[in-house]
Each structure stands twice: as structure tokens, then as C-alpha cells.
């Protein structure tokens, strides 16, 4: 794909990137307890005895969380491990009530898979690249410390404690910030299609740990650093750029990269050391003796597979087969919401090309102006289909449709009602049109002469004048026919 190189004093450097993405699994309750996973609740209002790690409490796996991980694995053509196991990752911190995180180190539920990314999703000619996925495992989230509630103490909110996360670990196959961005976008799109994660990075539903190292092109792998908890695609790309450059400068300045954990500061646009390898925890992983191994049977796997929706790549191919341009198909499938909107229009009987053109020009334009996203559109697919139906059956022209759509956006009225009320129905009255054509030709004799002497371009002028005289309500096809006859 792209040749991303850092120009150093000693020549070119290549960047090697691997991403560990933590995605919150969409589920009603937590991974090992019945508490709600709802976002934004009062601190410590979604905490069960298990989440608070009270004495004698035991975890019970939430099958739905495992199901979502398996479905996600299937969506990236990954190996699904019928036998997996939970391990304890032991460390002390105030946001970790058990004193260990239940995770999967030795036997993850999902094994190797891959995701195909294109550098520019909207450009059908953009080259593609397959990024390997090493594994997806399921684990508990920790709680949250609040340092601003008391002058000398920190408070703990355990609402997130025990919420299910998938950790999606890529191979170090990514070689530029752009590729990393494309990968994260594609992954996010797949998760949203599958419904296993809402992909909401602002709310922390998705965050990435970014492993970066640099090397001379084709050389030995360099020492990597891990920048933790980056919570937007833009920040991730900036963090990679900064970190790769920092490593090159460091090495060329005679230093060495230290294997360490770093943090990205989006205000200063730089990464900072958090803890070095020497301070690294010894997590003392071992199989969680409170839990049995997870064994998946055929019926479970079949249900997971059957419940998978059509995924973006397959959808894009199908849209192209419907006659959409590659560009339109790519744009419409990039986000699940857009594709579902488009398909709702088709379900209402709208022609595929008409639907895609209208969505991409009219609807996107209008939403852009209103500063709204698709979910907040004042017009729903059913209402839009009514409008497009009026165009398709010749009741109104395309230009009138634009006016009607604007009124719909403002008033919420239905398209037919607006057309009726404002008298915008297109006319097929050839007599009336012929009368107007006659007047226009009489008033523009010079242009008639020019046209007849070969200036074909003036035809558009006559169409425009006629349409104007008909207040836009004449059927454009009939105007064309009548004008051609009259002008000879």
C-alpha cells in the first residue's frame, strides 16, 4: 500500500505498527454479573456484590458477551476456538476491586483472522491491504478513579467495573498512520455492522493501545513502545507520527528506544513515558479457578453465524451489482447506518440509482447544512420514499422535488400533502406549453434564427424559458418534445 517513510539524517526509516483495540461489548449486563452496563449513570449505581468483589462472590460468565465476541470473530473470518479459558491478571489498583482482571491470556476465544483495508475507502482504485488479526479475547473493564471530588482523597466509581471488553489484537502489519486510521475505521465499521460494539470512541466504548517501532526499510524489528488508551482515530494517527519521529530522532542522536508504556497528550500532541519495563507489573497470570473452560457447541456456533448481518465488503459488491458507482457503493457501506437507510429506501420501492443519488446529494447535503448526523435526520426513509415516488411517476419534476424536500425538512409535512397544498403538480397540458413556447419564440426571434442556423446550445435556453414560464411545473420531457417540434 502506501510507502510511508520518515526521512532521517541517516536515510529512510520504516514504521511498524500494531494495534490492540479495546472494544466494549454491547450487552445489557456485565461480563460476570447481572449489573447494568448503562452509560452515564450516577457513580456506583451499577455495582453488584460481584463487581465490588465482596468476600465469597463468584463470577458467572454472561453468554451474550461470549456470543458477541464469537460473532465478531466470524465477521473477520477468524478462527473460533471451541475451547477457551479465562485467566486472572493480577495487580493492585484502587479501580480493580478483585485485585485481578479476568481476561484470556493463554487460550483466547477467537484466534487468527484478517481485515482488508483500503487507504481511501471512497476511492475504488485505492490499493487494499490485509491486516492480520492475532486474536480477540474477552476481559473485564476496570472502574474509574475520580481525583477532583475531595482535597486529599480519590474516589472510585465502579459502574464500569466488570463491563465486558473485547481486546482485538492486530499483527504488526500496519506501516503508516494512514493505514492505522483506515484499519481502525474499518474495524469500527465491522463492529457496528455486527452490533457487538457501538464504536463510540468519545464515550470510551473503543480505545486503542498503539505499538510503534521504527527500522531501516526491511531491517530487523526495532524496540517498540506502547502508547495506551488513545481514544480517537485522529489522536491515534498523531500519536504514531509523533512517536515514530521521536524514535528516529532518538536513535539517530545515538540513543536507544526503551521498551515502555507511554501516554498521548492530545493538547501537546506528544507522547510521554508512563512506566518503563523495569517498573512493569508482573501480572502473575494463571487460569481463573472460579470459572470452567468455555466450550462452544455446534448449535451455538451455528446461531452466531446465522445471526451475522451482511458485512460491508459483501454489501459494497452487491450495491455495485445494483448499478451503483463504485464510489457511491463505498460511501453508502462505510457506515452501517447509511447502508440501512439506503436499504430502507429500496424496501419502499425506490430505484437503487435514484435512491443512492438522492441520499448522497440531497440528504447528505441537507444534513450537513443542519449540522446533523443520519440518525437525527428530520425525514425518515418512508417519507423520503414518498417524495422520490412522486418524481419517479412524473407527478413532480426533480427541481420541484428539491423545493418539496426543503419544506419537508422545515415542517415535517408529507411530500404529497405539500405538492397538493402548494399546487406543485407537474403539468402535461401540451396546449398550455405550446402557447408559452409560441410566446417565447416570438419574443426571441434572433435566438430562434441563431438556433436554426446551427447554434444547438441555445436549446437549453428555450427549455429554461419555457420551464420558467410554466413556473417549473411542466413535465420536462414534454417541453423537450414540443420545443424540438416547434424549433424544427
Amino acid at each position: 500500500m502506501s510507502e510511508y517513510r520518515i526521512q532521517g539524517n541517516t536515510g529512510e526509516w520504516e514504521v511498524v505498527i500494531g494495534l490492540e483495540v479495546h472494544a466494549q461489548i454491547t450487552s445489557e449486563s456485565k461480563l460476570f454479573s447481572g449489573s447494568s452496563t448503562g452509560f452515564g449513570a450516577e457513580p456506583n449505581s451499577h455495582v453488584s456484590l460481584v463487581d465490588a468483589a465482596m468476600p465469597g462472590m463468584l463470577p458467572v460468565p454472561n453468554r451474550e458477551c461470549l456470543r458477541q465476541a464469537v460473532r465478531t470473530g466470524m465477521a473477520i473470518n477468524a478462527q473460533i476456538n471451541r475451547w477457551s479459558r479465562f485467566d486472572r491478571k493480577n495487580y493492585f489498583y484502587a479501580d480493580l476491586p478483585q485485585g485481578y482482571q479476568i481476561s484470556q491470556l493463554y487460550h483466547p476465544i477467537v484466534g487468527e483472522g484478517e481485515i482488508e483495508v483500503t487507504l481511501n475507502e471512497k476511492d475504488p482504485d485505492s490499493p487494499t491491504k490485509k491486516i492480520g488479526i492475532e486474536r480477540i479475547h474477552v476481559e473485564q473493564d476496570a472502574g474509574k478513579l475520580m481525583h477532583d471530588q475531595h482535597p486529599t482523597m480519590s474516589f472510585v466509581d465502579l459502574n464500569r467495573s466488570g463491563v465486558a471488553l473485547m481486546e482485538i489484537v492486530s499483527r504488526p502489519d500496519i506501516s503508516s498512520p494512514q493505514e492505522a486510521g483506515a484499519y481502525l475505521k474499518k474495524l469500527r465499521s465491522i463492529l457496528r455492522y455486527v452490533g457487538s460494539c457501538d464504536g463510540n470512541m468519545e464515550q470510551g466504548s473503543m480505545r486503542a493501545d498503539v505499538n510503534v517501532s521504527v527500522r531501516k526499510p526491511g531491517g530487523e524489528l526495532g524496540t517498540r513502545t506502547e502508547t495506551k488508551n488513545v481514544n480517537s482515530i485522529r489522536f491515534m494517527m498523531q500519536a504514531i507520527e509523533y512517536e515514530a519521529q521521536r524514535q528516529v530522532d532518538l536513535i539517530e542522536g545515538g540513543g536507544a528506544v526503551v521498551q515502555e508504556t507511554r501516554l498521548f497528550d492530545p493538547n501537546k500532541m506528544e507522547t510521554r513515558s508512563m512506566r518503563s519495563k523495569e517498573d512493569a507489573h508482573d501480572y502473575r497470570y494463571f487460569p481463573d479457578p472460579d470459572l470452567l473452560p468455555v466450550e462452544l457447541d455446534d448449535a451455538f456456533l451455528e446461531e452466531c453465524l446465522a445471526s451475522l448481518p451482511e458485512l460491508p465488503d459483501a454489501k459494497r459488491a452487491r450495491y455495485e451489482a445494483l448499478g451503483l458507482t463504485a464510489y457511491n457503493a463505498a460511501v453508502l457501506t462505510a457506515e452501517a447506518e447509511t447502508a440501512f437507510w439506503f436499504e430502507d429506501l429500496l424496501a419502499e420501492g425506490v430505484d437503487a440509482k435514484q435512491a443512492s443519488n438522492w441520499l448522497m446529494s440531497e440528504l447528505f447535503g441537507a444534513l450537513n447544512k443542519l449540522g446533523k448526523v443520519l440518525d437525527e435526520s428530520p425525514v425518515n426513509p418512508k417519507q423520503a420514499a414518498e417524495l422520490l415516488g412522486l418524481v419517479a411517476n412524473g407527478t413532480i419534476s426533480g427541481s420541484i422535488a428539491k423545493q418539496v424536500f426543503e419544506i419537508m425538512l422545515e415542517t415535517g409535512q408529507g411530500a404529497s400533502a405539500i405538492v397538493e397544498e402548494k399546487g406543485l403538480k407537474q403539468t402535461n397540458d401540451t396546449g398550455a406549453i405550446e402557447a408559452e413556447i409560441a410566446k417565447i419564440m416570438a419574443a426571441n426571434e434572433d435566438k430562434v434564427t441563431e438556433y436554426r442556423s446551427g447554434k444547438d446550445k441555445l436549446f437549453g435556453f428555450f427549455v429554461g424559458q419555457t420551464m420558467k414560464a410554466m413556473q417549473g411545473k411542466a413535465n420536462p420531457q414534454i417541453i423537450n418534445d414540443l420545443l424540438k417540434k416547434a424549433l424544427g
Binding site: P55, G56, S154, F286
Partner: protein, 494 residues
């Protein structure tokens, strides 16, 4: 007038059901005995009003003609490792001193549902770590037994369920709950001349039991005879969806199934359990046990459990490893002790809290567990110990080809004096040598009285059965009980 302290579980249940006496009479009589036995230090907390309330409820049910539960009217002691709603639960630690759960463990809830009442919370080794009840933050439990040498040396009631064993042997309660991780029901039962069974791992829910080593911890009953153990185990056991390792199986009618005719049963005698230099009283008792089972119709076969000698070292890696992680939650943040020195940060608080809250033995095991799980040592210790554990389990599987049950001593000695062994952790750990293999394999195992040694102290015989075959274990126990003529009791010196 009936001396209620002499009645066992079945007799109390039947007497209450028939109307011979009221449950409240039993509860009050035992409350009085508990209150008068402070010298034994068997209870951490006494709950006489709860025993009476439960008894009143049973009496009212009977008066109303309602059906009565399996343990109706039986007051029991509850090992203070089971969380009890509204009643302090300490695991005999300073860490949890004053901790009052808002929830009830599944096993204790099952017992209350069956009509049992609670006399109080029983002392134990701290976090169930110990074999003599000397690690309790609330002081040693004293065994009611004395040697026949005329001296009055205080003896260990065994551990970790030492409060349970002492209270039953002193007739403060007819039965009590125990938990067994590496012998903590069987060894104390043997030390005081009572019966106790650790069922198959997964029979009793671990939910609400303060965890020591999750893959080994298993609750079970302790009582004065085999029938009582069968009754109480029926009330305690059962599938619990809140414990992922709980067995989803119906609870057999063990009491109804009791049958001491052992015709057709083959009893394995493991040659590896014949340790060099073992007390001849132990050997003699074992031989008696063999004769009794033969008399009951069983066939005796020699068997080999070749990996037995690795069981104890493996146990003392696996149990501390799990404990080091299970006890991480006692950090001073949310409940229990918090020691926050002036100006301390989070790490200082952890260190101070855990240093103050855990006793020496608990700290030792946390250290061992942390060490064996740490990077670079994990494979050499933990992985290796798990392999040994699998081999131990395979030893038993192979043995079942030639026998149905295994008979062995419960412990290598009778009760020792308090303070005699606690200077040397290794000699203390050796006391679990016969108990630990069945724990590692998750098998049901029981201790029943097998006789007295030269010093007049009780010795226990251990019966190990196949997974889920508690019935055969109980039946063999009954056969021994019927033939051993064990009626010895501790003199009431307290």
C-alpha cells in the same frame, strides 16, 4: 428431663417432628451450653436469639401442620467462613473483623431453608489456612479432649474447621458446617472423634464462602455420626447457578440410601500411605478398619497410588497460588480493615492494611503463592504442580479399576498440643499428607472415628470414594461406625 446435648441431628429432627419436645427447648438448652463453654473459644460470635427464632419458626410450622425441612429444629454451628446476612463474618481475621455481610451464603441459606438454626459463628484457622486452629486472630480453639497422662496440656482441635470440631465434640451443637481445602473437615473430625465428609468438588456451592483456594474449597458437614452427616449434606448440597463450578445434578437421598452391607464392594488399601516411622497406633487402627470392612462383606485389595508423595508439595503450590490472588481483594479500599498512615498513598495503604490485617500464616501463603506465579517461576512451580495434580487424579482413576473405595488413616497422628508444631510450618503441613490427595482429585472423602491411641486420644479413618459416589463413602463409614464401638467422649473440664 432430656439432655438435649446428647441428642444427635436425626434424634432432634425426629423428636421435634413427633412432638416429643419443642425445637425451642433444644435451642435454649444448647444456647446455655455454648454460653458456658467460653474456655474452648470455639465461637467467634454467639447468636442465641437466631437459634431461638429459627426454632420458634419450626415449632409454629409444626403447629400449623406444615411440612418440616430435613434439618427442622436442629441448632447448628456455622464456620465463620460462610457469609451470614447481618452477622459478622471474619474468616477469623483482623482484616474482616467487624465485617457484616448483606448477603447469605448459598450453603447456609440452604440449611436455614431446611429448618436449621444458628447458634453462632465458629472459630477457625485464619482464612482457613492452618491445621491446628492456631492461626485465628481471635485466639486458639481448645480441644475438649485431654491426654490420659493426667496432665492438662491444651490440645489442638485440628484445622481449619477447629471451632466446628471442638464445639461438636464438646456437645455444644450436634452438627456444624466445615470447609475442606486440603483436609480441613477430615483432620479436625479425626482429632476430636467425630465424623465429617468433604463431598465431591462442586456438590456444595462456594457462593458466599470466603475463598481460600477456589479449585479445592468444598463445604461439608461435621457431626457425631454418619447418618447425621448424610442428613446435613443433603440439606447443604445442590446446584447453584451463582457458582460456575457447581455441579448441575440432583441431590441424592443419602440418608435413605444408607446401607452398611458392603458385599460386592472392593476396598483399596494404598501401599504408598504406609509411611516409614508412622505411629504404630495409626497402623493398628488402620488394620482394625480393614477387618471391620471385611466383616461388613467387602473385599480388600492392595492398590498403588504412585504419585502420592508429590501430592503435598503440589498442594502447597496450588493452594497458596490461588490464595494469593483470592486474597488480593482485601486491600482496605471497599470493606474490612483500612490502615491509612498519615500522609500515605495508595501503595502505602495497601502495605499497611495487609500487614496489619493478615496473620503470619496467611502472609506466608500469600508470599509463597505470589512467588510461584511470578514470571520465570510459573512453569517450574505452578505448571508443574498442575501436571502433578493431573497425575494424582489419574492415580485414583487407575485405582478404581480394581476397587470401589479407598481406606486410609485421616492424619498421621492424633491431636498434638497447642504450640507443639507451629514453630515449624513444614511439620504442620505434613499433617495434611493423607488428606490432600483426595482434595487435589476433587473426590468425596470422609473421616470417621477409628479408635483411641495410647494417650486416649481419638484417631480417624478416612474413606475416599469415586467422584459423586458419596453414598458408598457414607455406607462404608456406617459399617465402620457399627463395628468400631467408638463411644469415647471428652471429659467436661471447662
Amino acid at each position: 428431663m432430656t439432655d438435649f446435648s446428647r441428642l444427635r441431628v436425626a434424634a432432634i429432627r425426629d423428636g421435634v417432628a413427633s412432638g416429643e419436645f419443642k425445637a425451642v427447648e433444644v435451642a435454649e438448652a444448647l444456647n446455655t451450653r455454648v454460653a458456658a463453654a467460653k474456655a474452648l473459644n470455639a465461637f467467634v460470635v454467639e447468636t442465641p436469639e437466631m437459634a431461638v427464632a429459627a426454632a420458634q419458626a419450626v415449632d409454629a410450622d409444626r403447629a400449623a401442620g406444615k411440612p418440616l425441612g430435613k434439618m427442622a429444629g436442629v441448632p447448628i454451628g456455622m464456620k465463620d467462613l460462610f457469609c451470614t446476612e447481618g452477622v459478622q463474618t471474619t474468616a477469623a481475621s483482623h482484616m474482616l473483623e467487624g465485617f457484616v455481610p448483606t448477603y447469605e451464603s448459598t450453603v447456609s441459606a440452604n440449611l436455614w431453608k431446611a429448618g436449621a438454626g444458628m447458634l453462632g459463628k465458629l472459630n477457625l484457622d485464619q482464612f482457613a489456612m492452618g491445621s491446628s486452629n492456631e492461626t485465628s486472630y481471635f485466639g486458639n480453639v481448645i480441644s475438649p479432649w485431654r491426654r490420659n497422662d493426667g496432665g492438662n496440656a491444651a490440645l489442638a482441635p485440628g484445622g481449619s474447621s477447629g471451632g466446628s470440631s471442638s464445639a461438636i465434640a464438646a456437645r455444644l451443637c450436634p452438627a456444624a458446617t466445615g470447609t475442606d481445602t486440603g483436609g480441613s473437615i477430615r483432620q479436625p473430625a479425626a482429632f476430636v472423634g467425630i465424623s465429617g465428609i468433604k463431598p465431591t468438588y462442586g456438590r456444595c456451592s462456594r457462593w458466599g464462602v470466603v475463598a481460600f483456594a477456589s479449585s479445592l474449597d468444598q463445604a461439608g458437614p461435621m457431626a457425631r455420626d454418619v447418618r447425621d452427616c448424610a442428613i446435613m449434606l443433603e440439606a447443604m448440597a445442590g446446584f447453584d447457578p451463582k457458582d460456575s463450578t457447581s455441579l448441575d445434578l440432583p441431590v441424592p437421598a443419602w440418608e435413605a440410601g444408607l446401607n452398611s452391607d458392603l458385599k460386592g464392594k472392593r476396598i483399596g488399601i494404598p501401599r504408598e500411605y504406609r509411611l516409614d516411622g508412622i505411629d504404630e497406633d495409626i497402623t493398628k487402627m488402620w488394620d482394625n478398619g480393614i477387618a471391620w470392612l471385611k466383616d461388613a462383606g467387602a473385599e480388600i485389595v492392595d492398590i498403588s497410588l504412585p504419585h502420592t508423595k508429590y501430592a503435598l508439595p503440589a498442594y502447597y503450590i496450588i493452594a497458596p497460588a490461588e490464595a494469593s490472588s483470592n486474597l488480593a481483594r482485601y486491600d482496605g479500599v471497599r470493606f474490612g480493615l483500612r490502615d491509612l498512615p498519615e500522609g500515605a498513598g495508595l501503595q502505602d495503604m495497601y502495605a499497611a492494611t495487609r500487614a496489619a490485617g493478615f496473620g503470619e500464616e496467611v502472609r506466608r501463603r500469600i508470599m509463597i503463592g505470589t512467588y510461584v506465579l511470578s514470571a520465570g517461576f510459573y512453569d517450574a512451580y505452578y505448571t508443574q504442580a498442575q501436571k502433578v495434580r493431573a497425575l494424582i487424579a489419574r492415580d485414583f482413576d487407575n485405582a478404581w479399576a480394581s476397587c470401589d473405595l479407598i481406606l486410609a488413616p485421616t492424619a498421621p497422628s492424633a491431636a498434638f498440643g497447642l504450640g507443639e508444631k507451629n514453630a515449624d510450618p513444614l511439620s504442620m503441613y505434613l499433617n495434611d499428607v493423607f488428606a490432600v490427595p483426595a482434595s487435589l482429585a476433587g473426590l468425596p472423602a470422609m473421616s470417621v472415628p477409628g479408635g483411641l491411641d495410647k494417650q486416649g486420644l481419638p484417631l480417624g479413618l478416612q474413606i475416599i470414594g469415586k467422584a459423586l459416589d458419596e453414598q458408598a463413602v457414607l455406607n462404608a463409614g456406617l459399617a465402620i461406625e457399627q463395628r468400631s464401638g467408638f463411644t469415647a467422649e471428652a471429659g467436661e473440664w471447662w
